[in-house]
Symmetry: C2
DNA sequence: CTGGTGGTTCGACCAGTAGTCTAGACGATG
DNA sequence: CATCGTCTAGACTACTGGTCGAACCACCAG
């Protein structure tokens, strides 16, 4: 966990560290990023870095969390549609997905960070961080799944964990495909529509 | 590329190196594996290791390739069904998938290696290896996809690369779910059937 | 038997890594 | 002025993957 002292640091220093770390992690991923380079770029000493962060993993998860929160705040809240039919459920989801992806294509650095996260999170060194993130997202996922089942949009004959795992896997595959192809903004809605259609077909009752 | 001299090495030495490497990579993944530990466990010197392999990545991809080839040989060949209807296409696929997974659950070390591969392959250090592997699998994937489209089992209105990416993503998610849950052998057919059904629903025309 | 020669092995060494630790600078407070 | 907590600097440790030159050894020609 990031040490609370970090909040007391002068904001410009905080920004310098965060910017340096984001740069490094976005371009190199977790493993190939060098903490020494971050320290140098941020213009601080090793002692200071370890005074504010527990280590490389801590810095990485902190930066990732901050950036994701920024993205989510920018995209706006998502409310699970508790009523309506299956079509309404899926169009709500597609709408949110579209908003997310448009925001993401606008900030390629964050996209790279997230892609790197998806690649590195399964590695032993980051399992704790991965679990932590999953715990944070889990209620949202379960809730959305339950809502989908309630309106008859999602099958109920398989374990929820399996359904979620598969859908998340599909989402990751789609994201990397989208982000590496970098399609036109105008094409995005059509593409996203097709992608949500695929998810819908996969989990249809 | 593994140096050709390796083939001339005494078989027991080859085995010692391969076994040590498989052990290390399966338990630690690529990044957290230590080449020094492999060298020690294999009972050779650093110079010899680098005499036979170009480096860590080379050893890793070699071990992975050997083990995957062993698995595929054990599972037997897969022939794309060129005729028949969609049901036949999917049942052939489900059958092959089932054979693969039963073989995989029988050798957890190999399963761990493959899981580690999926996690580490997107990392910058392994992109070449990843591309190499993909190039090897690509014709097979494209062929199978085309066969599916020919019998009307797979939609044709989306880029082949996107369809393949999504299906591979689903497969990875399912594999890790299956392998971490380690379900009964008896339950496997039912589960695999459901999983293939999900894939079918996702890519249905 | 001598002296190469080429394939093979060894381990010291290099530049880099993440992380630890101690000495001290700075400022507030008694 | 003295002391105490906050903070910084950077030397240091134990490790990493990778390089390199020396030595070893079976072979063969003279």
């Amino acid at each position: 966990m990031v040490r609370p002292r970090f909040a007391n640091l002068a904001p410009e220093q905080q920004q310098a560290i965060l910017r340096a770390a984001l740069d490094e992690f976005a371009t190199h991923g977790f493993h190939d990023a060098s903490l020494n380079r971050v320290i140098e770029a941020a213009g601080i000493s090793k002692g200071s870095m370890y005074y504010y962060f527990e280590g490389k993993e801590d810095l990485y998860t902190y930066v990732a969390r901050i950036e994701v929160e920024r993205l989510l705040a920018e995209v706006g809240p998502f409310s699970v549609p508790s009523q309506g039919d299956a079509d309404a459920f899926w169009s709500t989801l597609a709408d949110y997905y579209l908003r997310l992806m448009t925001a993401l294509t606008a900030s390629p650095q964050l996209a790279a960070l997230i892609r790197g996260w998806a690649a590195a999170s399964k590695t032993p060194a980051l399992q704790e961080a991965q679990q932590q993130l999953e715990q944070g997202m889990w209620p949202w996922l379960v809730q959305t799944l339950a809502a989908g089942q309630r309106v008859g949009a999602v099958r109920s004959d398989l374990p929820a964990a399996l359904l979620i795992a598969v859908v998340v896997g599909m989402g990751q595959a789609m994201d990397t495909w989208l982000v590496t192809r970098a399609p036109d903004i105008d094409d995005l809605p059509r593409l996203i529509g097709a992608l949500v259609e695929m998810i819908r077909g996969a989990v249809r009752p």
